[in-house]
Amino acid sequence: MNIVLITLGFAFALAFAIGLILGVFKKLFEVPVDPRVTAVRDALPGANCGACGYPGCDAYANAVAAGQAPVDKCAPGGKSVAESVASLMGVTASAEDVVAVLLCQGVKDKAPQKGEYVGVKTCRAAKISTGGTKLCQWGCMGFGDCALVCMFDALHMGDDGLPHVDYDKCTGCGMCAAECPQLLFQMAPKARVGSVVTCSNRNVVKANVMKTCKVGCIKCEACVRACPEKCIAMVNGIPVTDYSKCTSCGVCVEKCPTKCYHLLETIEGKSVVVRKSGVDAAPAEV
């Protein structure tokens, strides 16, 4: 019995002594941490995706607290995170929630290949060696570089040869847009409402577009003429909608002979991008 008491007494005495030493040294060598760093870090999603341009959430939090980075760089966090970080830093944020929209609808059977491609099976390698594996040099080549870099499991290659965005999961980090050698992803604000052309073919000759893709924009400009709000203009060979005027009337969607137009909408407060005339990137029949 005695031995137990002695052991316990010794252990407690030792614990007390070590605790005392640790306490003293903590006070002596304390490194002051900006409480804002911890607060900002806690407000961030913690995905460490790198979309902000910093190696991870910790690095970004440090940069924000030091005043070296803007408060609205966290794309996955979107508006809510930007606002909470902004309030912590005492500034105002102007971030918007965005999602990736693929600006190509050239599925396998609509947009043929140039020939048999035998090189390295990544989009970037194919682009360098062939200028694009499809007859349409602007189109999605479908090797899935974008799906590989997506940290949020929001991009998957479909059987139709195009990547499909899962809008429940897409955080708008923009990694796919940065990776795509064809620059086919547009980061569209979730709140955006209006029409969008999901084609990037910039060949201005109708016959050449038709040869390369059955669902490409043929520059007929029917949309430009039909739009009641006059909010569509051809920019660099592709019709572009002015969202400050677009009313989502859908006239352009109806008029487009190759079904290039889709409507972006926000439904049931979930801020989901949907396409009226086709499911996701898959186009309607032509």
Binding site: K114, G119, I128, G131, G132, N203, V205, N208
Partner: protein
């Protein structure tokens, strides 16, 4: 004469015997020409003509006053039918001027200029105005190469007559048929640069051209000291940096240009174009190229107006066995560009068009690296392709940069010798692009 060379390299099957003996055939009547506006390496330029304009042969149809640009001229007399994007030999669509002949044959050349009497400025302006670019493949504007900054003295002009790409024989034919023009063009360039030493680098398999060249040097060089150096027949002997090492023994520093070691290298065709630009005032509107490959019934060396569409030459001039064609390549088989079909025009830097059959075009599947080190022995830049590949596979761009990925000249020797058939060079091209993007991004950040 002893043969000189560089370290590394490989010897792919030459297959030059198919067309080496065939004289250059001139094609004069074409039903249209499709002239790409941007045929040079550098800043883009804009067309000067409109649809419906009638143009004379030799008339300038596109230009810009920017640096690193080079004008383009009409190669036939006729009417501009269209100005629209068309497929170019580099496999992407680019703005092209389509001209249909009107049969007049009206010609508008510059007035002849004596390259041995004019001033340096006049000579340089002439080479610029004639729209001459490097005709070996890269299409680098020649006048930019011939105007080095004053702190880089040039002491040797090297004629790249190695023609190390398999199949291609056009340079060999030019050396056989027009050695005088070639030597004269070279002498003009040497005078322009104020260089005393000229070297013709010739691969050993073209030894038979030496006698003709020596005679031409005696007759046409106007006293310029031009020597002929025989080089070992090995790919990529015609790479600029390999040629300089073989001829002068000096190595172009990493990230440097030939002018850093006092050398200017030009292709055979470029010198002939220079000679014609001075003697006849003729801009670069025609060029020779080799058409070869297993799916072509009779290989040919052709001389055509620039912009001639290959499809227009089929089947009268080129008899293509369409069932046999598996791959069409614009340029040589090692560094050329595979193209989807043959409806592309010949442009200033198209040195060959190959119609390969299934046997020639076979691309075996990749296997894992067996660490044999053959790529390291073969690399003409003395890099370690296997290690580079590993670094790039791991996404370690900094390591790739450290071990020299930016020094890769993309000659493809490593991919050729690899027993596991790993497509090394394509991966290096990707790595180089990513690394350049990264460097540009960092520079932007640093600037901010």
């Amino acid at each position: 004469m002893s043969t000189k060379t560089f370290r590394g390299g490989a010897h792919p099957p030459e297959r030059k015997e198919r067309s080496a003996e065939l004289p250059i055939e001139r094609v004069e009547q074409v039903k249209q020409v499709v002239i790409p506006v941007n045929q040079h390496f550098g800043a883009p330029i804009q067309p000067l003509v409109k649809v419906g304009d009638s143009v004379k042969r030799g008339q300038k149809i596109a230009d810009s006053d920017g640096r690193m640009t080079c004008p383009v001229h009409a190669s036939i007399a006729g009417t501009v039918k269209k100005i629209e994007p068309r497929m170019q030999p580099n496999n992407v669509e680019g703005l092209c001027v389509v001209i249909e002949p009107d049969g007049s044959g009206a010609t508008e050349f510059m007035s002849p200029l004596d390259g041995f009497a004019c001033t340096k400025e006049e000579a340089l302006a002439r080479i610029h105005e004639a729209g001459i670019v490097g005709m070996g493949g890269a299409g680098f504007p020649t006048w930019v190469k011939l105007a080095p900054p004053p702190n880089k003295p040039i002491d040797v002009v090297i004629a790249n007559a190695a023609e190390c790409e398999p199949y291609l024989t056009i340079d060999e034919r030019v050396l056989t048929e027009k050695p005088g023009d070639f030597v004269e063009g070279m002498a003009v360039v040497m005078r322009l640069l104020g260089v005393k030493r000229g070297v013709i680098g010739l691969e050993e398999n073209k030894k038979h051209c030496v006698a003709g060249l020596e005679k031409a040097v005696a007759e046409r060089a106007r006293g310029a000291a031009i020597e002929i150096v025989l080089l070992k027949t090995k790919y990529p002997q015609g790479g600029e940096k390999m040629l300089i090492v073989a001829v002068t023994g000096k190595e172009v520093p990493s990230g440097g240009l030939p002018m850093d070691v006092g050398a200017v290298v030009q292709n055979v065709g470029t010198f002939v174009a220079v000679c014609e630009a001075f003697r006849d005032g003729k801009p670069l509107i025609e060029r020779g190229f080799t058409a070869s490959g297993g799916a072509l019934e009779s290989p040919k060396n052709l001389y055509v107006p620039i912009g001639t569409v290959i499809a227009d030459l089929v089947p009268e001039v080129l008899k293509v066995d369409e069932a046999k064609v598996r791959k069409v390549i614009a340029g040589g088989p090692m560094m050329g560009v595979p193209v989807p079909n043959w409806t592309f025009p010949v442009q200033k830097n198209t040195s060959g068009v190959l119609f390969l059959d299934a046997d020639e075009a076979k691309a075996p599947a990749e296997d894992p690296c067996i660490r044999c080190g053959r790529c390291m022995r073969a690399c003409s830049c003395r890099l370690s392709p296997a290690l580079l590949n590993k670094a790039l596979e791991a996404g370690d761009l900094d390591l790739a940069r450290e071990i020299g990925v930016l020094d890769c000249i993309e000659c493809g020797t490593c991919s050729f010798v690899c027993p596991a058939r790993i497509q090394l060079v394509q991966r290096f091209r990707v790595g180089k692009q990513l690394l350049r993007n990264k460097i540009a991004k960092e520079a932007k950040h640093a600037g901010k």
